[in-house]
């Protein structure tokens, strides 16, 4: 009986053991199924709970001047947005945001009650506002880190550098033209976050790889400042409407300074009228006036029609061209070509233009780059107006020779003059000399580009000699004479046109020249629009040229050509010693 019970008990234990084994095998099988066959699906499900994807925006590259001064930088700021559906207490949020951000309550209210998933409240807030909002930790309100563009030198080179919009894209100037180089990329980075949303691991910690490239300008901040101050002084001093000045290296085509007055602060560009934001030296064409005479004379000499000593009758200051009568400022009789340039005789220039003929004059002016864009690395450049010679009237060769009936941009004018300073070779102007990566390594160097030979070296030297005479006693550009340096230059005074006819009392005064005369380091153009007190280029623009040239040469360490004797003696003695 007992044996039977034992047997029964043993069988029950065995059964239970068998059942346990079966359950264990079942569990093991199930575990194996999950681990082996559903491995990927389960992993993805787990990852989706703690792994998030962050969008990391690269910083926009900086812009430096030729001396490594920062002209434009990106700074970290915060923008405020809301997820309306995630806001728990709309009234509290509305009050808090209105108090801290000082935004329009009605607009804010519309955004908070909106059915949209997301709405911006205020972009690029101040650090103080950001801290106050972060402390409140309002549900549904997000503080999104962004970059904002900042221009530490404010007005300096504003039209050259340009500015960016809220989205960080360039709108004007170099910022616009080199937007692709400057703009950072957007990267998606996987980050691990815990249940509280705290980040504890990520694929990539730094975002330097996504940052945009930097630009190094040809503009030098110091020369730019000298130029801006000089043009401001000229415009304010003569109650002009506006002004611009350019300094260019004739050998490379690099622009050392490009100044406008009035200018604007790119940090607050919305507060300025749109006409002040563009680079007028590139975008606005104007009749150049007498500065055009140097190119007409260059055409005459290059074609062999005239020599500097060739004499023209200047008709004692009054000469009828078609239905119009052209006057000179002073009455001249017979003048050589050199004197026509020195005294800026309009009648002499007309005679030279007529002697050269429309076709040769046109071809030479086209060679100098008039009527076509210079190709400078900045948007919005005008080609100016130089009609084909086949469409010229009989008098046009004469009037174009002294700068009427043609319109040019300031950039075209200085580029053409640089060709004379550069021995007859026209260089392509440029504002950027190199592109560097985030570590400052040069990844692209923008080389000087010769466009073509415009005139022979001999012709360029002859024209330079004539331009030197303009600055001597009796010449129209005496006010541009520098101590210690020989200067080549030409004055220009052009009457402005209004509704198709020349307006009385409205002039564009200009002066273009280069220094030192024999080994030019800088070509300088000064233009003052509608000066009120006086209007001759030699009176209004030449003094500004002088100031820019004097200070720029000193800054560039260009030694004076005629060193005072006492210093020479002391140096010789030092040399002997």
């Amino acid at each position: 009986m007992k044996t039977d019970e034992n047997k029964k008990l043993r069988n029950r234990i065995r059964g239970l053991g068998f059942m346990m084994y079966a359950l264990f095998i079942l569990m093991a099988g199930r575990a194996m199924y999950y681990q082996v066959f559903l491995n990927e699906w389960l992993s993805e499900k787990a990852i989706s709970q703690y792994e998030k994807v962050d969008v990391v925006s690269g910083k926009r590259g900086d812009i430096f001047d030729a001396s490594n001064r920062k002209m434009a930088v990106s700074i970290d700021v915060v923008s405020v947005g809301v997820h309306p559906k995630k806001i728990s207490d709309v009234r509290t949020t509305l009050n808090a945001l209105t108090d801290i951000l000082h935004v329009d309550r009605r607009v804010l209210s519309n955004n908070l009650y909106s059915s949209k998933p997301f709405a911006w409240i205020k972009r690029q807030i101040t650090p103080k506002e950001s801290k106050m909002l972060a402390d409140l930790n309002l549900p549904g309100v997000i503080l999104k880190p962004e970059y904002s563009r900042f221009y530490p030198n404010k007005f300096l080179g504003a039209q050259v550098v340009g500015f960016c919009g809220l989205d960080g894209r360039g709108i004007e100037g170099v910022e616009y033209f080199y937007n692709t180089e400057l703009q950072g990329t957007e990267d998606r980075v996987k980050v691990l976050k815990d249940a509280l949303g705290r980040r504890f691991e990520s694929e990539k910690i730094t975002v330097s790889d996504s940052n945009g490239n930097n630009l190094i300008l040809t503009i030098d901040g110091a020369i730019q400042y000298i130029t801006e101050k000089a043009i401001e002084e000229a415009v304010v001093g003569f109650s002009g409407k506006s002004g611009m000045a350019i300094v260019m290296n004739p050998r490379t085509g690099g622009i050392l300074a490009l100044a406008h007055y009035p200018s604007y602060n790119p940090n607050a560009f919305r507060e300025y009228p749109k006409r002040e934001l563009r680079s007028r030296a590139l975008t606005d064409p104007f009749e150049p006036g007498s500065t055009m005479k140097i190119f007409s004379v260059a055409a005459a000499i290059e074609s062999g029609i005239c020599k500097p000593t060739t004499v023209f009758n200047c008709e004692n200051g009054s000469f009828r061209v078609g239905t119009n009568v052209v006057h000179d400022t002073h009455s001249y009789g017979m003048l050589t070509v050199q004197e026509i340039i020195k005294y800026s005789s309009n009648i002499g220039a007309i005679k030279v233009g007529q002697a050269v003929g429309a076709e040769i004059l046109y071809k030479n002016l086209r060679n100098f780059g008039f009527g076509e864009k210079t190709g400078i690395d900045c948007a919005g450049e005008t080609a100016g107006v130089l009609a084909p010679y086949t469409k010229w009237r009989k008098i046009d060769a004469g009037t174009i020779a002294f700068g009427q009936g043609i319109s040019v941009s300031a950039m075209q004018l200085i580029t053409a003059t640089s060709a004379i300073a550069n021995g007859g070779i026209l260089m392509k102007p440029h504002l950027v000399q190199a592109v560097t990566d985030t570590n400052g390594q040069i990844i692209k160097k923008i080389e000087s580009t010769p466009v073509r030979r415009v005139i022979s070296y001999e012709t360029a030297r002859t024209v330079r000699q004539m331009m030197k005479e303009v600055i001597t006693t009796g010449g129209t550009g005496m006010n541009a004479a520098l101590e210690g340096y020989a200067v080549c230059g030409k004055t220009g005074t052009a009457q402005k046109t209004e509704n198709g006819s020349y307006a009385r009392g409205k002039y564009v005064s200009s002066f273009i020249g280069f220094v030192p005369a024999d080994h030019p380091e800088a070509v300088i153009l000064v233009i003052v629009d509608e000066p009120q007190k006086k209007y001759y280029g030699g009176t209004v623009a030449a003094p500004a040229f002088k100031r820019i040239a004097q200070e720029t040469l000193g800054y560039l360490n260009v030694a004076p050509e005629n060193i005072p004797t006492r210093f020479r003696v002391s140096l010789e003695k030092e040399g002997e010693g």
Binding site: F200, G221, K229
Partner: protein, 115 residues
């Protein structure tokens, strides 16, 4: 079985008198020791793995903290760079030179050209 047979070699001559029951008890005890050893090994491995994961997570938090600290330092650096740019601006330098130090650009007579 091999382990048991190895252990048997160390039995003293009088051990042969030991009963089968004692021998089985000894075998079970050895087997238990092995199981306990394996269990301890697995638990230790599990604890070590858990410790590693905790360390990884802790390091992750520390790295995040350091990155945040670095970001704040970079913000300070950037504002200092901007301040430097403002202080070095040609406008400010020129104003100090002309107004405070009463300097002006030298005339060509004041220039000494070194050979």
């Amino acid at each position: 079985m091999r382990i048991i047979s190895v252990n048997m070699r160390f039995f003293k001559p009088n051990d042969a008198e030991m009963t089968t029951h004692d021998s089985l008890k000894k075998q079970k005890s050895n087997l238990l020791r092995i199981w306990i050893f394996l269990l301890v090994l697995f638990i230790s491995e599990f604890l070590f793995y858990a410790w590693c994961r905790v360390q990884c997570t802790r390091l992750g938090y520390e790295m995040t903290k350091d990155v945040e600290a670095n970001r704040k330092q970079m913000l300070i650096k950037n504002s200092l760079v901007l301040e430097l740019a403002r202080l070095k601006s040609p406008e400010r330098i020129s104003a100090i030179a002309r107004q405070q130090l009463k300097l002006e650009p030298p005339s060509h007579e004041q220039m000494v050209v070194l050979p």
